[in-house]
Symmetry: none
Subunit: 428 residues, 2 copies
C-alpha cells in the first residue's frame, strides 16, 4: 500500500454536471457517459448523477448531499473565468476549505494568452484559485485547470465542462498511476449484454429470473438488469472481481445458461443491432437480399444499409406502397390482391418471390400491413402485418403479426420481425 492511499478504496461515485444550459430542453450532458465508462474501468460504480444550474448555494448543497452517499464526487463544468462559473466557490463552501491563488497557474495562463498575442483579462485569475490542500490537474486543451482534493476516505474532483478538456484529464486520472487509480480497489467491473427479440419484457423476466437469481448468489455475484428497448428486450449482466479471467468465465457461464433458457430468441450477445447481426450472417454465407416493402416504406432496407459494407449483400428492392407498384416492381398478380386483399399472406409471399426474382437475390422479403392510425378494419385491425421470407432454396416462410403502438413503432417492429425471420432462417 502506498503511503498516500486512503484507509479504504473508492468504490462508489456521483457525477454533478454544472451548468444552467444543461437544464433546458435542448442540451444533454454526455460527459457523464464518458465518466461512467472510465469509473467502471476502475471498478468504481456510478450510483447517481445530476445536473445543477450555475447557482453557488444550490451546488454546495447538492455536493454536501452527495458526500453523504458516496466515496467520490466528480464535478464537471463551471471552471471558467466568469461570474456564473461557481464550481470552485461552491466546493469551497461545501467543504469549508478556502481557495488559494497559485501564482504559477496565473503565470501559465498569462503565457497562454501571450502566445496568442493577447493580454490575459483580469477575471481569468479566478481560474488560478485552488482548494487549500488540493492537487492541480493540468489541462492540456484549455485554460481551466482541474483539481482534486482528498478528505479522509473521500475524494472530490473538479473537471472543466468542454468534453475535449474533460476527457483528456480524466484519462490521466484513471491511467496506471493516475491520482484516481491510486485510490481505487483492485476489483474491477465486468459486463455482458444479451438482446432478445420476439418476447415481451415480463415473459423474458419469467424465463430468465430463475436463472439469473441463482447467479446472484454466485461468487463473484452477477447482477442482472432487464430493459425493454425498441424492437428488443435487453439483459445486462454485471460482476465485480479482482480477476479478469475469473469474471469473464462466470459471465460467460451465466450468459450461456440464459441462452439455453431463452433459445433462439437471443439474437445478439455483443451489443450488435439486428441489422448488423443479419448483415454478418449474410456476409458469412455469401448470400444477397432484396425486399419489397409496403407498410414499412423502405425502413427495413434503410436499416440494413445503415451498416458499413452492406452493399456487399443488400441488392435493394421496392417500396410498393401502391397496389400498382406491387405489380409493376414486384410482379404481384393483381388477381391475388383482389382475392386476398393487399394485406395478406399470399400477397406477402408474392412480394417476396417477385422481388427476389427481379433482383436475382438469394433471399427475398415481402412486408405488407396496416401501420395506421387509419386503414384498419374489424378483420384486419391497425397493426396487422404479414411478412414473408423466401429462402435460398425457394421455400416460403410467412407469418402474420398483430402489433401495437404508433405508426412509427409498427413500422419499426415490422422491420425488426422481418429481419428476425431472415436471421432464424439463416441460423436454422
Amino acid at each position: 500500500m502506498t503511503p498516500d492511499a486512503p484507509p479504504k478504496p473508492i468504490r462508489t461515485a456521483e457525477v454533478i454536471a454544472v451548468g444552467s444550459e444543461l437544464l433546458g430542453s435542448t442540451r444533454v450532458d454526455t460527459n457523464s457517459l464518458f465518466l461512467a465508462d472510465r469509473l467502471s474501468s476502475l471498478g468504481i460504480e456510478l450510483r447517481a448523477k445530476s445536473v445543477v444550474g450555475d447557482n453557488r448555494r444550490e451546488l454546495a448543497e447538492h455536493l454536501r448531499r452527495s458526500l453523504e452517499r458516496v466515496d467520490l464526487v466528480i464535478l464537471s463544468g463551471g471552471l471558467g473565468p466568469t461570474d456564473d462559473d461557481v464550481t470552485r466557490d461552491a466546493v469551497s463552501d461545501a467543504l469549508g476549505v478556502p481557495l488559494v491563488e497559485h501564482p504559477e497557474i496565473v503565470d501559465r495562463l498569462r503565457e497562454r494568452f501571450a502566445r496568442r498575442g493577447l493580454q490575459m483579462p483580469d477575471v481569468n485569475r479566478r481560474q488560478a484559485l485552488i482548494l487549500e490542500g488540493g492537487v492541480v490537474l493540468s489541462n492540456p486543451n484549455g485554460t481551466a485547470p482541474g483539481q482534486m482534493i482528498v478528505r479522509g476516505h473521500q475524494a472530490i474532483v473538479l473537471l472543466p465542462g468542454p468534453p475535449r478538456e474533460l476527457k483528456a484529464m480524466m484519462d490521466v486520472l484513471v491511467s496506471g498511476d493516475g491520482a484516481l487509480a491510486k485510490h481505487a480497489s483492485r476489483e474491477r467491473l465486468f459486463r455482458t449484454t444479451l438482446f432478445v427479440v420476439g418476447r415481451g419484457e415480463s415473459h423474458v423476466e419469467e424465463v430468465a429470473q430463475p436463472v439469473y437469481s441463482k447467479w446472484l448468489r454466485h461468487e463473484p455475484p452477477i447482477e442482472t438488469t432487464i430493459l425493454a428497448a425498441p424492437g428488443q428486450v435487453e439483459l445486462h449482466l454485471m460482476t465485480r472481481s479482482p480477476d479478469a479471467a475469473d469474471a469473464d468465465r462466470a459471465l460467460a457461464r451465466a450468459r450461456d445458461e440464459l441462452i439455453a433458457a431463452l433459445g433462439g430468441d437471443v439474437f445478439s450477445i455483443d451489443g450488435r443491432s439486428m441489422e448488423e447481426i443479419v448483415g454478418q450472417l449474410l456476409l458469412d454465407r455469401h448470400l444477397t437480399i432484396a425486399a419489397a416493402e409496403s407498410c414499412t416504406g423502405g425502413l427495413m432496407m434503410s436499416r440494413l444499409t445503415d451498416v458499413p459494407g452492406s452493399s456487399a449483400y443488400v441488392l435493394g428492392g421496392a417500396v410498393a406502397y401502391s397496389n400498382e407498384l406491387k405489380t409493376s416492381l414486384a410482379d404481384v398478380d393483381p388477381a391475388l390482391i383482389a382475392a386476398h386483399g393487399a394485406v395478406s399472406e399470399p400477397v406477402a409471399v408474392a412480394l417476396a418471390e417477385g422481388i427476389r426474382k427481379r433482383a436475382g437475390a438469394s433471399i427475398g422479403v415481402g412486408i405488407t400491413g396496416i401501420a395506421g392510425p387509419t386503414g384498419g378494419t374489424p378483420e384486419k385491425p391497425v397493426g396487422t402485418v404479414a411478412i414473408a421470407v423466401i429462402a435460398p432454396d425457394g421455400a416460403a416462410h410467412v407469418r402474420t403479426f398483430s402489433l401495437f403502438g404508433t405508426r412509427t413503432m409498427i413500422k419499426f417492429w415490422s422491420s425488426q420481425y422481418a429481419m428476425n425471420m431472415v436471421r432464424r432462417l439463416l441460423i436454422s
Copy 2:
C-alpha cells in the same frame, strides 16, 4: 381558486430519472429535456435533475432531498412490473404514505393482456399499487399507470420511462385544466420555432442575430436560442407573459422579421418536420411522388411514410442499391452508368425519370451517392451525392452535394436535401 389549489403556485421543480441502465456509458435520459420544455410552458423552472439507479433506499433518499429544495418532483421510470421497478415503493417510503392496490387497474391490465390473447403474469399486479391519497394518471400507450400526489404546497408525479408513454401523460398534465396546470402560476411561457435548411449554424446566426437582438429589448423580451439539429438549424423564440394574446403577437412579429431575413430557407414555423411539410404540400396540390434511392437505401421514402395519411401521395419506388436494380426497377440505361458512373447527375436524373414513369407519379426523385465509410475516390469522395427531382411538367432539377459525417448522417442529410428540393419546387 379551486378548492384543491395549493396555498402557493408551483414555481420550481426537479426531475429524477430512475434506472440503473441510465448510469452506464451508453444511455442518455432524454425524457428530462421534454419535461423541462413542458414545465417551462407552465412557467415552472427546472432547478436540477438527476439519475438514480434501481435502488429503493437510495431513490427514497434522493426524493427526500429534492423535496427540501423544490415545489414539484417528477420521477420517470421504474413503474414496470418487475423486481427492479422500485419507484412506487421508494416514493411510499420517502413520504411515509402506504401503497393501495386499485382493483379497477388490475381489471384494466387483465383486459389489456386478454386483448392480445395473453394471460396477465401475476407480477403485473404491482402496477396497480397507488399511493394512498394519490391520483391515478391513465397511460394510453402502456400498462404502467402514472400517479400524482399533492402534499401541502408540494406535488410529486410518477411517470413511466418509455418516452411515448411519458410524453402523452405529461401533455395531459400541463394542458388547460390538467392536474399540473391547476397548480402553476398565471404567468406562462410562450414559444415559437423556425426550422432552417440549407445554411450552417453560424450563417444562420450571422443573418438572424441583428434581428433577434432587437427583440431582446422588447417588452416582453423575446429570448432566442440557435440549435443545430440533424438536417436543420432551429431558432427557438421564447417569451414569458400572463397575457397570451400579447405574447403571441410579439412572437409572430419577431418570427416574421426572421423569415424576411432568412427567406425560403425557413421551411417550418410550427415544429413540423420536413416530411410533414412536403407531405402537406403534395396533399394540397393533389400530387403524388415516387423515388428511386440508392445511397439512402429507402430512408427518404421511409421518412415520408412516417406521416399518417401519406399513402394518399406516396406511391413508393425503388431501392436501387445494385446497378442491375437501377435498370430493372427504374429503367436506367446501363450505358449511362458505364459512361458517367453510378454516382452522377445523369444517373440521378434517369433514376428520377424512370421511377416517375413506372409509378405514374407527378414527381420523381432520384438519389445516388457515396455514404461511406469506404467507396470514395479522389474525384468522388465519400459524401458526394447527386439528387434529381422531376417536376410535374417533366422538367428535371439536379444538384450534387458534398456532405460530411458518418454513414448514417450522410444518409439523413441526403434524404433531407432531396425532400427540400421537392419543397422548393412545390412552393416556387
